[in-house]
Amino acid sequence: MSKIASHVLLGCVLLLIALGIVMLISTSMWSGGEAGDTFFSLRRQAAWLVLSVMACAVMTRVPDAFLLRMAPVIYVLGCLLLVLCFVPGVGVNINGSSRWIGLRSLGLSAAQVQPSEFAKLAVVIGLAGWYMRIGVRSREFVHGFLIPMMLVALPLGLVGAEVDLGAAALIGLAAFALMFAAGANLPALGTVVLLGFGAIYAAVKYIPNRAKRFMEFLDVLRDPMAHLGDTGMQQVRAMMAFANGATSGVGLGAGQQKSMGLTYAHTDFIFPMVGEELGLVATLAVVVCYVLILLFGMFIALHASTRFGRLLGVGCVMLLALQATLNIAVTTVCLPNKGLPLPFVSYGGSNLLFCLVCVGILLNLHRHGVYPELQATRGMPRRRLTPRA
């Protein structure tokens, strides 16, 4: 198992990326938009893919000790980039959210990055670094709970202020999982859970857009058909897409929902498109892929050679798995709609880059991991494993 862990992980990731490309071709036939350039989106995504794979390869060679040393820097950088979103002339506002930074000023026209993607990683690296540093004091309230909470709160607040609640939820959940794994005080964490529910309640109640979305969501669950015309329709259309796909799908490119009504078909709502065109077989396969990534990623993380590595690995796996969970839960109408891409599959460069960086980190951890079954006896020199993939 230790041998194949990285192979399985990488295999699942590649399958999902391939699915993403296929679905992008299928959907951009309709919404590629720009006259005369059906493959505009495809070309752009391919460029991001090349960049992301390179980043992934680089990360497999970056020692975790270096990441540990750089953790404070990475964390601060992440927060700074988030602040940039609010700087006029740099931040780009789309649909009322300022979650993008335009690189036009840096000479890269028409490219935007979402700093929240980087912030996710920055929070995980920062937290893992912090817990590594404080060692056994992880159980203490101030060092093991209060300070990490503050470390999380700053970027979380910034992302929330961008009105990118999907990313905020993901950062919050992943950080919470990491704190839980690092051994933080359980009663304190329990209090956080309660506060978290309180915060969600407050958000639903006092942020007008949220309140509306939430009520709509409840209504969509009760009477899906009544919401075809309004903003709740995305999720209703998603349900229709799944239904239309049935067991084996209507066939690639034959999906109807993407052409008639399902907006964001190639980004956040790619999963229903998979469901419609390839059917239950494909959607279950996708879920299985994520479960495998979760289990083997966790296996790799727990066998990392350092505590920092283990914490970092758990954080990365949580980021990937939680993002997948949230996206699937939203597109299957188990949670209200919030913008989160499906890791590896959705169209969008920043997210793909960040996800493959996480994979790179895990592969690196696997190379330097400690596997008792590969050692004849305890105390023998550690053998380094190099993934062949």
Partner: protein, 631 residues
């Protein structure tokens, strides 16, 4: 997973915690993933039907292909009503407000890329721009104001609206090209069928018409709707990912089945002659012209005696099938009136059938004034030395009463029912009135008197003619025939509808005797003006005072005047007809059936006989005509 070795760089208890909690996290998330998997099974398969159905409704457009309605033809095969292609313009509001189509349309209009449009306009703005552009371009082509068209389309984003109807071929083609050229989203030109009447002013009451759904709502279109209507076909279109439409791959189209056609007994030429006569205004002061009568209503039915077929049926007032302004009732079958003297045939046929009298049997008519208890009867045309024949030809009320009394109420009533009074004739026309003929047990002391000369009874013109038809044709009661045959679309006869004989009213001898009496009416009696040179004409006039319900009395100046008669050549009876004029505005002493209805019948029947090429018999020319009275 096996337990990792205790690491060297940390507290081992903390590592155990990490391990345990990581396993808890993984297990928890794995469980969540399994639940999502189960949710997927539900969405894809278990609950799928509801959503599949909804998706089909949204993404599959069902187009009902209307079935052509069967045609209505006259007995010569001339088309009276037929379905013709017509086009309508339909706006699919779902497509009109579609996001992607709107973005494309705005991007094409502004010459910007779709992403540019998306950046500069909210979805709502883009949609509004696109809808405005579409409607502003479309409105002038439909001859509508932009505001009017917007009002028609409304605010909803679901369903279809018809914004223009009944376009001709070339208009429809021009619009199709225009829509294509400007790529107006959600606007379609749809082909449909519309009822067309080549002769829209002919037999309007008989033919009737269809509504917007091409369902018959009046006339024979209504009564024979189930035969005429076809089975509509269906086509399902599904939207393609490019925004166009194609025939559904999952549901094959069903072709429509055309309805069956009817060949009516009407003759469009005879009907035309009749309609023209009813509309004609000549300058002969001695003649009667319907438009000058200022009558409340005029109704004429012509029948072919051999088959009891209705050759023509027309009423005034009438309407036009092309514009269908104010609708008018079919007086010939749906309106009743008190028939007056024409109803006397009931008493005469009874006594002749039972051989209680012969035509030459003398009758005491009491000098035109009869009084017996409550019963007082006056004759307008007193007859000296009367026989049954002269009493009939001069329409004596006293004779009619005495003959009816001779039969007795029950037998008299039996003959009246037998002649079809108080019951529908069964002609396939809507709203046929039953008329009113009270059963004997409801008769009052004066009922026998009133009935015997046609009061206290309501009949339709068709009932009256049909009763006379039985007498004229030897005593056999038949259904009035309006449908000759049911045909398929290619004109092949599917079903013949032969004349239907109902029952015998009287003996042939009695019928022949009464027919003879009817000749006498025209020859010497009240209907001299019905005579057509060269033909034997028989009939009976009727003049009934109108009952005014408000005053509960009979009006002095208001009459319904009737003539029922037939024309005979050497070959036999050629034509029968009834003329009913309701409440004509004519000078006093001209109000009798003999002065109004009889000459109308003469003119109409004369033209029809001439049109049919029936040879007049020179021996029957007026001067030397004699008539043998048989006993």
């Amino acid at each position: 997973m096996s337990m990792p070795p205790p690491p060297h760089d940390s507290d081992s208890k903390l590592e155990t915690t990490l391990y345990v909690r990581a396993v808890i996290l993984s297990t928890g998330l794995a469980v969540v993933f399994s639940l999502l998997g189960w949710r997927l099974v539900n969405l894809h398969v278990n609950q799928g039907d509801t959503f599949r159905q909804a998706a089909r409704e949204i993404f599959q457009r069902e187009v009902v292909v209307p079935a052509a309605r069967g045609a209505l033809m006259d007995r010569q095969g001339e088309v009276l009503a037929i379905d013709r292609r017509s086009y309508s313009v339909v706006v699919d509001r779902n497509l009109l407000a579609d996001r992607n189509l709107a973005l494309r349309s705005v991007s094409a209009e502004l010459g910007q890329k779709v992403t540019e449009v998306e950046r500069h306009y909210t979805l709502e703005q883009a949609r509004q721009l696109s809808v405005d552009r579409c409607l502003d371009l479309l409105a002038p082509r439909l001859g509508l104001g932009a505001a009017a068209l917007r009002g028609l389309v409304g605010d909803s984003v679901r369903g279809e609206v018809v914004v223009a109807k009944e376009l001709r071929d070339e208009e429809a083609q021009a619009l199709k090209d225009f829509i294509e050229e400007e790529s107006l989203p959600g606007v379609f030109v749809r082909e449909g069928l519309r009822r067309f009447h080549p002769m829209p002013d002919l037999a309007v009451h008989v033919l009737g018409f269809t509504n917007n759904e091409n369902t018959g709502v009046e006339g024979i279109e209504k009564t024979m709707d189930s035969v005429l209507r076809g089975v509509p076909g269906h086509q399902w279109f599904e939207r393609t990912s490019k925004g166009g439409e194609r025939l559904s791959s999952t549901r094959p189209p069903q072709a429509p089945q055309s309805g069956r056609s009817l060949r009516l007994t009407l003759d469009h030429q005879i009907q035309r002659l009749l309609e023209e006569e009813l509309d004609a205004v000549g300058d002969d002061p001695a003649d009667v012209y319907v438009p000058l009568l200022k009558a409340k209503g005029v109704s004429v039915i012509l029948m072919d005696p051999a088959t009891n077929s209705i050759l023509a049926m027309a009423s005034r007032p009438h309407h036009n099938l092309a514009d269908r302004g104010k609708l008018t009732p079919n007086l010939a079958v749906s309106e009743t009136f008190e028939p007056g003297s024409t109803f006397k045939i009931g008493a005469y046929i009874g006594v002749l059938d039972e051989q209680l009298v012969g035509l030459a049997t003398p009758l005491n008519l009491h000098g035109g004034r009869y009084e017996k208890g409550e019963i007082r009867i006056r004759d307008d045309h007193p007859v000296e030395g009367a026989t049954v024949l002269t009493a009939f030809s001069h329409s004596s009320n006293i004779a009619a009463y005495k003959l009816a009394s001779q039969l007795g109420a029950v037998r008299y009533y039996g003959y009246l029912r037998s002649l079809g009074f108080g019951a529908r004739t069964g002609v396939p026309l809507p709203n046929e009135a039953t008329g009113l003929l009270r059963p004997v047990e409801k008769w009052g002391t004066l009922s026998m008197r009133s009935l015997s000369f046609g009061y206290e009874v309501n009949v339709t013109p068709l009932q009256l003619l049909n009763a006379f038809s039985a007498v004229i044709n030897g005593g056999m009661m038949r259904e009035p025939r309006l449908v000759e045959a049911v045909l398929d679309q290619d004109g092949v006869v599917l079903e013949d509808r032969p004349p239907v004989e109902l029952h015998r009213v009287c003996s042939e001898a009695a019928a022949r005797q009464l027919r003879t009496a009817m000749y006498e009416v025209v020859k010497k009696g009240t209907a001299k003006q019905a005579a057509i040179p060269g033909f034997l004409v028989g009939g009976k006039t009727g003049t009934a005072q109108k009952y005014v319900p408000a005053r509960k009395a009979y009006a002095d100046g208001a009459y319904v005047v009737t003539f029922v008669g037939f024309a005979e050549s050497m070959a036999g009876v050629e034509l029968m007809g009834v003329v009913v004029v309701d409440d004509a505005d004519v000078p006093a002493n001209k109000e009798y059936g003999g002065h109004l209805s009889a000459p109308l019948f003469r003119r109409i029947a004369g033209k029809v006989l001439a049109h049919r090429g029936v040879e007049p018999n020179p021996e029957w020319m007026p001067k030397n005509s004699t008539l043998a009275v048989d006993r």
